[in-house]
C-alpha cells in the first residue's frame, strides 16, 4: 500500500524513469506477504472444510469410520495437511503480533513466545505425524 501511495504522490518533476525508493524487504515484509497469500488460500480451504464436516455432515457423523473413508484418498490427506500447515502458521504469526502488542517487557515477551512457539510447533509435528502415519 505504501508503495502505491508513493507512486501516486510523486511530483511531476521527479525523474519518472528512476525506480521508486523501496523500503527494505525484511522479515516483516515477508510476514505481511505470507499473511495475505495464506489468508486467501485459507478462505477456501477452511470454509470448505467446515462446510463438509459441520454442515453437510453432522458433527456426530464424523466418527472414526468417516475419517477412515476420507483418508483412504491421499488427496484428502494433502488437503488436510495444507489446511493444518497454513492455518497453524497464519495463526501463529497472528499471535506473534498480539504478543508484541500486549506483552511489553522483553523478558516476559521472550518467555511467552518461547512457550507459544514450542507448543504450536509440537502440535504441528503431532498433527503432521497423524496425517502421514494413519492406517485404517
Amino acid at each position: 500500500m505504501a508503495l502505491r501511495e508513493e507512486a501516486t504522490e510523486r511530483p511531476a518533476s521527479a525523474d519518472q524513469s528512476k525506480p521508486l525508493l523501496r523500503p527494505r524487504q525484511g522479515f516483516e515484509t515477508w510476514s505481511w506477504f505470507f499473511m495475505r497469500v495464506s489468508g486467501l488460500i485459507l478462505l477456501f480451504l477452511a470454509l470448505l472444510h467446515f462446510s463438509i464436516t459441520h454442515i453437510l455432515n453432522d458433527v456426530t457423523d464424523t466418527d472414526a469410520g468417516f475419517v477412515a473413508r476420507r483418508w483412504d484418498n491421499p488427496m484428502w490427506r494433502i488437503f488436510d495437511w495444507a489446511l493444518l500447515f497454513l492455518a497453524l502458521f497464519h495463526g501463529l504469526n497472528g499471535l506473534r503480533y498480539i504478543i508484541d502488542d500486549y506483552v511489553r517487557k522483553p523478558a516476559n515477551r521472550a518467555v511467552t513466545k518461547a512457550v507459544v512457539y514450542s507448543l504450536s510447533i509440537a502440535l504441528f509435528a503431532y498433527g503432521t505425524l497423524t496425517i502421514i502415519t494413519y492406517r485404517a
Binding site: L40, I55, V59, T60, A87, L119, L123, Y126, G127
Partner: protein
C-alpha cells in the same frame, strides 16, 4: 494539553473491524490447537468416537456455531484487508465493505447455525 489522560483512541468502524478480526483469529487459532489433539485420537478409534459424541452435545454445538461466525468474519474481513491493500477503490469504500462483511457473516452464519443446532431443535439430543 497534557497528553496522559486525554489520549484514548476512539476509532470508528475500522477499529471494530480490527478488534473483531483479532478476537476471531485468536479463538480460531486455539480451536485449531485443540482440533489437532482431538483428530490425533484417531489412532485410538474408540476414544476418538467418544470424544466426537461429546462434540454433539448442545454446549459444544453452540461452541461450533461460534466457530462458524468467527471463521466467516475472519475470512471475509481478511479478504477486505487484502482488497484495501491492493486496490484504491477499496480504500475509499472500506466502511461499506466492512458493513458487507458483517452482513454476509450474519446472513451465512444464521442458516449454518440452524443446521448445526437442528438435531437439538428436533429434540434428538440434549
Amino acid at each position: 494539553m497534557s497528553p496522559a489522560k486525554s489520549t484514548v483512541y476512539r476509532g470508528r468502524t475500522g477499529q471494530w473491524a480490527f478488534v473483531f478480526h483479532r478476537i476471531s483469529g485468536f479463538l480460531v487459532f486455539f480451536f485449531l490447537l485443540l482440533h489437532i489433539v482431538d483428530v490425533s485420537l484417531i489412532n485410538r478409534p474408540h476414544l476418538y468416537n467418544e470424544v466426537h459424541e461429546l462434540y454433539g452435545n448442545i454446549l459444544l454445538r453452540l461452541f461450533e456455531c461460534g466457530l462458524l461466525f468467527a471463521l466467516l468474519y475472519h475470512s471475509l474481513n481478511g479478504l477486505r484487508i487484502v482488497l484495501v491493500d491492493f486496490w484504491n477503490d477499496a480504500v475509499r469504500n472500506e466502511r461499506a465493505l466492512w458493513l458487507g462483511v458483517v452482513f454476509i457473516t450474519i446472513a451465512a452464519g444464521i442458516p449454518g447455525s440452524y443446521v448445526i443446532l437442528k438435531p437439538f431443535i428436533d429434540g434428538k439430543i440434549f
